[in-house]
Each structure stands twice: as C-alpha cells, then as structure tokens.
C-alpha cells in the first residue's frame, strides 16, 4: 500500500475542507481524484505530501506514519502543484536540475534524471530556454518535469492540464499513462471527467470534502444505473422490426420514434450486433447505431444533483 488515509478531517475556520476522508492507494495504480473546485482534492494531496496538518485522522505513506515523513520518504514522491511553480530566471534545464538536486540527485544520476524528465515532457529542445518564452502548455510540462527527474515511485499531479491547448493536454495524458506503465503509482487530480476517464484505473469522487464514491469506472457507472440505452436509426420503421428487437434476450423496452428505435437493455447484457442482425434479417437496413452508457459526469450528477462544472 502506497497511501492510506483514515478518517481524516481538516478545517479552515468554519470551512470543513476534508470531512472524514478514507482512501487507500495501491502500488501501480493510477487513481483519479475527481471533484469540482473546492471539493478538497488539493487539501487531500497536500496531506499525502505532508504539507498540511490534519485536525483528525491518520495518514500513512509507504507504511510510515505521515507525521514523521523523513527526507528519504519524500524523495520517493514527486508533487506537481496545481499552480505552476518554476523559476522564470532559470532555464528549463536548470529548473529541472534544481529540483533534481533538491531531491537528492547528483553527478551522473542528476544528468540522466534531468535528461529523462525533459525528454519525457518533450522539452529537450527547449532546455536552454527560460520559461518566460514558453506557451502555457510548455510551462505546464516543465512544471511536471520538475517533479520527475528523481524518478519518484509515487507521482501526484494536481490538475496538471488547466488552461492549456488540446495538444499539450494529450501529451500530458499520454505521459501519465507511460509513467504508470513503467511502474509509477500516480494520483491524478482533476475536475475534467474526460481526463479521469481517459487515464485512471480507479476513481475517487469527492465533493464538499467527502469521498462520495470510489472504484473502477464501471463500478461507479454501475452505481448510477444497471441499464444502457441503444439508439438505432432505420431506413424505415415497421412493427415487425419492433417486435423482433423486443424479443432479444436482455432487452427491457423498445420504443419507436420516427425512424429511430430507442432500446433499453440490461448493462453489458446485449450485444449491439444481435439487434442489428434482427433488423437486417427482416430486410430493414440500419443507418446508424449508438450505445449511450453513463459517464462519470452522470455519476457525479446522480450522486450530488449537480454537474462537475457547477
């Protein structure tokens, strides 16, 4: 177990930033911490990193109580802060090198670590330039590179893609997956559910300082509903087609709407191919077909009654 939080509570005056939070993170996972602004994501990971003192509860890191995080344990972690924090009077290379040395690298290990981090974030060509001349996406990538030179076992990224172009965003998401493939445990914080859906093996949904749900993506979606909707568009609508589709095992409901058929089925219970076969078997061509599954957005909506962007 890399991280374990038990009944952690944190207050800022009257604001309860964390309310009895329990969570565990296993080696090799990519865990998404999903929640709207103010949900308590940053407070949670600050606690994991030993930067925040809690009012109650316990945190253990790599099996050690977080109250006594020694430098040795710190060096096994890398934190990418939510707000870009790099020196703008140092070059990209110098920035990464500074943090590499801070985390205990020197000599050959330092040179290699810096090259790895810059290469990894696609900044190698820019290593001698200062971040002043960088685009938002490049600054974000440098922000990440600064946490990677020392090859941490646990990387914590706090909203690493805020305010950047889609290309840089994809680059970052791909990098996170690559890091994980190499065995790094990742905590990925975001209020963009598409990102969490794209990279995370497990998701922890937070709101108002509480963990409101956690599990794999399909676990969470199962929470919302055990049904899916299939929408197919037909060349023409006939009563026999409706009957035939209705007779497919697992189909609960089948409603014609013009040339569209809206079919409610058990989750993962019906193959789309079976439905299409039925229609074409009766000589009716299928023009398009779509499965509507619940998204994390709809999970959040159904759990809180609000959308993530509220």
């Amino acid at each position: 177990m890399v991280v374990r939080m038990q009944r952690v509570t944190k207050r800022y005056g009257d604001v309860v930033a964390l309310d009895n939070v329990d969570l565990t993170i296993e080696r090799g996972e990519i865990v998404g911490l999903l929640g709207p602004n103010g949900a308590g994501k940053t407070t949670t990971i600050s606690g994991v990193y030993g930067l925040t003192r809690f009012d109650a509860g316990e945190v253990t890191l790599f099996g050690h109580p977080a109250k006594r995080i020694d430098p040795g344990i710190k060096r096994r972690m890398g934190l990418v802060p939510q707000d870009i924090a790099v020196f703008d009077d140092l070059t990209a290379g110098e920035n990464v090198s500074y943090f590499g040395r801070l985390y205990g690298l020197s000599g050959r290990a330092l040179t290699e670590g810096v090259s790895f981090a810059l290469e990894f974030t696609g900044l190698n060509e820019r290593r001698d330039q200062r971040p002043k001349s960088f685009s938002g996406g490049m600054k974000r990538r440098l922000n990440i590179a600064c946490a990677l030179a020392h090859r941490p076992e646990l990387v914590i990224l706090d909203e690493p893609t805020v305010g950047i172009d889609p290309q840089s965003r994809n680059h970052i998401l791909e990098s996170v997956r690559a890091l994980n493939r190499d065995g790094t445990t990742v905590i990925y914080t975001s209020h963009y559910m598409e990102e969490v859906e794209a990279v995370c093996s497990r998701v922890i949904v937070m709101d108002h300082g509480r963990v409101i749900a956690s599990g794999t993506q399909s676990d969470l979606k199962a929470l919302v509903s055990d049904e899916e909707t299939i929408d197919i568009e037909l060349e023409r609508m006939t009563p026999r087609v409706v009957e035939a589709v209705r007779s497919v095992a697992g189909v609960k409901e089948c409603l014609p709407e013009g040339t569209h058929l809206r079919i409610t089925v058990e989750r993962d219970g019906v193959r789309l191919g079976r439905v299409i076969e039925k229609a074409t078997g009766l000589g009716v061509e299928v023009l398009s077909a779509q499965i509507e599954r619940p998204t994390l957005e709809s999970v959040f909506l159904s759990l809180t009654g609000r959308t993530l962007r509220d």
């Binding site: 003192r53 707000d83 790099v86 020196f87 703008d88 009077d89 140092l90 943090f99 985390y103």
Partner: protein, 371 residues
C-alpha cells in the same frame, strides 16, 4: 548546497549585478575619493593682517581649500556643508601675543566632526610656538618676527600633530573622504539587499518557495542556504569595496583596511537579515518597494550614508543610533583615526545585535508560510 549555489548564480545572473557591484562603487570611489583628497573646506577671516596672522594662514594652507564667505554666513555654510571649518584671526592678535596674553583663535566647526583636526592643530601649533617666542623676546616685535621667521623657514620643527592624529591611519582630510565613501557604499550594499529581497519575494509569488519547502528539505536548512547565498554576494561586494579603498589610499595600511573589511562584512550580515525581514513583513514586491522608499532610504539618510550624522540636530542624532549604518560610519571614522580593533568591538557588537533582531523578524511566521 543546491539552494545556496542556485541563489548565488541567480543573483550574479541578474542584469543589475554588474552595475551595483562594480560600476556604482567605482563611480563613488572616483567621485568621492578625488573630492575627499582635496582638503578641508576652510573659511578664514584675517582681521589682524599682521605677520603672525599671515603665518597662521600659511600654516593651514597645505591642508585647506579656502572658501570665500561672509562671517555672518558661517553657521549656515557649516550646516549646508559648503564649509567644514571656520577660522577667525581677531584684530590685535599679534599685539596680544606679544604682550604675553593667551590670545586665542576663534574657530567654528560642527560639534563632533573630527575630520577638521588637521587645520585646528596646524593653527594651534603655530600659535603656541608664537606664545613661547613672545615670552623670550619680552615685547620686542622685531625680535619676535625674526624668531618666527626662523620657525617659518623650518629651522625649528613645529609640533603640529596631536596625539590622536599621530596614530591616525590617514590624514584627516582624506579620512573625511573615505568615511563619506563608506557611507555611500553601505547604500549600494543596501541596494543589493533590495535585490535579494525581490528575488526572494518572486519565489514566493511564483510558488517556487513553497515548492522547494515541500521537498525533502527542512525550513531551517533552506533559510541557512538562502541567507548564506545572499550574504556571500553582499560580503563580496563589501570586501571588494574595502580593498579598492585600501588600494586608493595606501596610507591606510593593512590593519585599518582589514578592519574596514571586517566592519563591512558584519554590515553585510545586517543588510541581508534586514532584507529578509523586509521581505517577510512586506510580503509582496509592491509593498517592498514602498518599504524601501519610506523606511530604508530615510534610515540610510538618518544613519549617515549621505552626510555626516554630526550635522543633524541632536534628537536626530539620537535617533540615528537606532540605524545600523550609523554604526558602520562611526566604526569607520574610528578606525580611520587610528582606533585599535578593540575600540570598534562595541560597534561590531551592536551591528551583530541588529543582525539578530532582523533575523528574528525575517524568520518569524516563515514556517507558517511553508504550511
């Protein structure tokens, strides 16, 4: 040493650094150094127009630059610095000396400014010789003038140096220049501090300060390394300045130069601590600028960086004791007039006390920022 090395590099990489550590100090040395060597600005009023008064005038000429003013302007001219010393040779001076009366010269200078001693002692030495001669000639003006003529020819040596000026490291006129020089150098050192302040605050603003402290390093270690880096830069500046002064004024000697190095090194510590205190209290670059304008610059004025503290009113002089620059300038004056190391220990002690207080103000609350 990561933080130490990086900060030193960053300070030296800044565009202002060459200006501040080399150009400005050298300019100051050139301007003030040359001016300081020219002699003491003396207003001399000879109402006696006698042989004796002419000899007094000759005696002070080598150490003086004469300034032409009216007698009723003396106070004003002393205050605004046009004149450093006013010497009045009253009518009947020679007659009084011949009669054996202890006729004195009247002189005006700002109380406490000891840099005018060479003029004073030259005039007094001549006068006391005149008194001695007068005792022997028993009123014979011709004999008196003949004897005094021999003195003027150098046949009798004049005892012109007082005990204090005998051990002085520099002639007093040059000492006044050097002391003004040091005052101005403290200013460039303070400017360096403002720069370090800005670097530190920029780190708070960019978040790199917090990010650094989030790493596996203790707050204490961070403070020691940043302090060390800023101190190194400032102390190099101070030492370089002291060495340049030592080269320009070789008469200063090794000991006094080393003492100057020591004083400026201790002041570097004060300056850096002050910078951290200002940064910690002001918290933003903008507010630091305000603090510099309304606190640091008045403090430098009060402390004697621009002009001697002694020309200020009494109560301001008391107030000046609460500024660190005051103790740098007075330690400098002391060591220029030949003080031993032990005599400037109190100054150094007080400077160290300032450093401790500023360090406390600088670290107070800092740990909270880290949280």
């Amino acid at each position: 040493m990561t933080i130490f090395a990086t900060y030193v590099k960053r300070v030296f990489a800044g565009p202002w650094i060459i200006l501040l550590t080399i150009v400005v100090p050298v300019l100051i040395v050139l301007l003030v150094g040359v001016d300081g060597g020219a002699g003491i600005r003396v207003a001399l009023f000879d109402y006696d127009k006698s042989e004796l008064s002419r000899m007094v005038t000759d005696a002070v000429t080598p150490v003086s630059v004469f300034v032409d003013i009216e007698e009723d302007e003396i106070d004003e001219a002393l205050l605004d610095g046009r004149v450093e010393y006013a010497l009045i040779l009253p009518q009947g001076l020679e007659d009084a000396v011949l009669r054996g009366e202890r006729a004195g010269l009247r002189s005006h200078s700002l109380q406490g400014v000891e840099m005018t001693g060479s003029v004073r002692s030259a005039a007094n030495a001549l006068l006391s010789t005149a008194h001695n001669v007068a005792r022997h000639v028993e009123g014979d003006r011709d004999a008196f003038r003949r004897a005094m003529g021999l003195v003027g020819d150098g046949r009798f040596a004049l005892q012109t140096e007082t005990f204090r000026s005998e051990r002085a490291a520099l002639p007093t006129d040059q000492a006044s220049g050097v002391s003004r020089l040091v005052g101005l150098l403290t200013l460039t050192m303070l400017a360096m501090v403002v720069i370090t302040c800005f670097i530190f605050l920029k780190d708070v603003e960019t978040g790199t300060f917090h990010r650094t402290l989030a790493g596996p390093m203790s707050v204490r270690r961070y403070m020691v390394e940043t302090n060390g880096a800023f101190f190194l830069v400032t102390v190099l500046q101070g030492i370089a300045a002291a060495i340049v002064i030592g080269i320009i004024f070789p008469q200063l000697g090794l000991m006094a130069t080393l003492m100057l190095v020591l004083v400026l090194a201790v002041f570097s510590l004060v300056a850096v601590s002050l910078g951290l205190a200002v940064a910690n209290i002001a918290k933003t670059v903008r507010r630091t600028q305000v603090t510099v304008n309304f606190l640091l610059i008045p403090m430098a004025m009060l402390g004697g960086a621009f002009w001697p503290v002694e020309i200020m009113p009494r109560f301001l002089q008391r107030l000046a004791d609460f500024t660190p620059i005051r103790w740098v300038t007075s330690a400098t004056q002391a060591l220029l007039s030949g003080a031993e190391l032990t005599e400037i220990v109190p100054h150094i002690g007080i400077l160290l006390l300032f450093a401790v207080v500023f360090q406390l103000l600088g670290s107070w609350n800092r740990v909270d920022i880290a949280r």
